[in-house]
């Protein structure tokens, strides 16, 4: 294929100048981009307003798609259901029977829990979620793991609020526009969640690795007590994340920690809850830290 004719520089001074100007403007564009990139890396929140506006404009289209995604799931499931109705009925009956027993046990445990908490002087501090919203999409081509949420300031969503699904922690709100928000998923490299092992007090940080897994970094170094299958929940250290939300399950043990799989897969979670920022000790009237930097030394 021959080179395109239009960029051949002839003897026309005007044509030569316009080609030259094109090069100058492209080079200036590259330099401007480098400068903006430098500013963005130095102060990541600089262009947040611009992004919020843009996301507000296009999020409704994505929202329709996300609703279709959940609808589509339901459609396939409902058709498949006809083929398994008999066996499913018998299985569900058995499950319901077992669940009745477990429900009664759980009632007893809840009551016991309430009494023990009353004994300790703790107050039940489960604040209701700020909003329920759809996860619209995510930055699937970039190494950053940021998802778009279909609720924004108008629904009371603000930066820093944790986002959870029924299966566990998804992330926290990074920037909020009027009707949409950007969520930093816990698998992003910039996300750091203070966690503890669900059944004891082994404390650690869960840091994202940008590939769908988390790096569990133990705070107390020494003998690594972790085993594959250990479940980690938020510890609440430092605030933001309410303690006791499921985060990840250990899949591979390393010398100074582990690699863990996320429990609440954002790809499977369509509807999520935005919770208020948790402030430690707020119910006792103390002033909480509320910053993203957990001290980690309070356990």
């Amino acid at each position: 294929m021959a080179r395109p004719a239009h960029r051949r520089r002839g003897h026309s001074k005007k044509a030569q100048y316009s080609v030259f100007t094109g090069f100058v403007v492209a080079a200036l564009g590259a330099l401007a981009g480098a400068a903006l990139l430098g500013i963005s890396l130095w102060k990541p929140e600089t262009f947040a307003g611009l992004r919020e506006e843009a996301t507000d404009v296009v999020a409704p289209a994505g929202e329709a798609g996300a609703a279709g995604r959940s609808g589509g799931l339901g459609l396939v499931d409902s058709i498949a259901g006809y083929f398994r109705a008999g066996a499913q009925n018998a299985r569900l009956r058995a499950e319901a029977h077992a669940a009745h027993v477990q429900l009664a046990e759980a009632d007893a445990l809840r009551e016991e829990n309430r009494q023990l908490k009353a004994l300790l002087g703790l107050k039940q501090s489960d604040a209701p979620p700020v909003a329920f919203a759809l996860l619209v999409g995510s930055t699937s081509a970039s190494t950053r793991r940021i998802a778009y949420l279909s609720a924004g300031r108008d629904q009371g969503v603000g930066p820093g609020m944790p986002v959870t699904s029924p299966r566990g922690l998804i992330g926290r709100v990074l920037e909020a526009g009027d009707s949409s928000a950007r969520v930093l998923l816990i698998t992003d490299g910039a996300s750091m969640v203070p966690v503890r092992r669900a059944n004891d007090e082994v404390v650690a940080f869960a840091q994202g690795r940008s590939d769908g897994t988390l790096r569990i970094r133990l705070i107390n170094l020494g003998i690594n007590p972790l085993k594959p299958g250990d479940v980690f929940v938020t510890s609440g250290a430092g605030g933001i994340y309410r303690p006791g939300t499921a985060v990840a399950v250990v899949s591979r043990v390393m010398r100074d920690g582990a690699i863990a799989r996320v429990l609440a897969n954002p790809a499977a979670a369509v509807e999520v809850a935005v919770e208020p920022v948790w402030v430690p000790g707020a119910s006792q009237g103390e002033s909480g830290a509320g910053t993203g930097k957990p001290s980690g030394a309070d356990k």
Partner: protein
């Protein structure tokens, strides 16, 4: 005796030749719209655990530049990159810089190797995709971190394999772009 005129005689693949002209909106707008739609892919209802999707906006941009040089002006990396940055999750400015550099690099390649072909286009696209994805991962933030770069390898492989398909897609769009739809009076 005059035989009947062949009905195809005054047509070509772009439509009737008499009394019809290209639409300026299609000629200039279609490349931009397809690239912008490629940049909007993060808003699609697809939530990925890792960087797996090829950068569709950039691939569309690259395909237009390679398949139809001259359709995109040299400075177009600035506005298109800015739009891509709003949705890609990268820090603002990374696509502005990389897309502008892509235009300059391709201009250089074209000056050095003027007689292009399928393999040369694919090789230059692969090299540019590798550079783009690698540098994007490097600058993705927080901070500049070299350990993120290996994460994009599966994505890079997918992008390179998909590129010829994108080039064919752009060829189809190009035929659409040059349809004579405007009626001259």
């Amino acid at each position: 005796m005059i035989s009947e005129i062949n009905p195809r005689a005054r047509r070509d693949p772009f439509g009737k030749k008499i009394n019809r002209d290209h639409s300026a909106l299609l000629v200039h707008g279609l490349p931009l719209v397809t690239i912008l739609l490629g940049s909007l892919v993060p808003v699609l209802p697809l939530i990925a655990a890792g960087p797996v999707m090829p950068p569709l906006g950039y691939m569309m941009f690259l395909a237009w530049r390679l398949v139809r040089p001259g359709v995109l002006p040299l400075w177009i990396g600035l506005p298109l990159g800015a739009f891509d940055d709003l949705f890609s999750g990268q820090p603002f400015g990374s696509a502005i810089m990389l897309w502008s550099l892509t235009m300059l690099v391709l201009e250089g390649i074209e000056a050095r190797f003027p007689w292009r072909g399928f393999w040369q286009d694919w090789i230059s696209a692969s090299a540019l995709l590798a550079g783009y994805l690698g540098l994007s991962a490097l600058f993705a933030g927080p901070g500049v971190d070299i350990t993120r770069v290996p994460l994009v390898l599966p994505q890079l492989l997918l992008s390179i394999l998909l590129f010829p398909i994108f080039a064919r897609m752009v060829a189809v769009f190009d035929r659409l772009r040059l349809l004579r739809v405007k009626v001259l009076r």
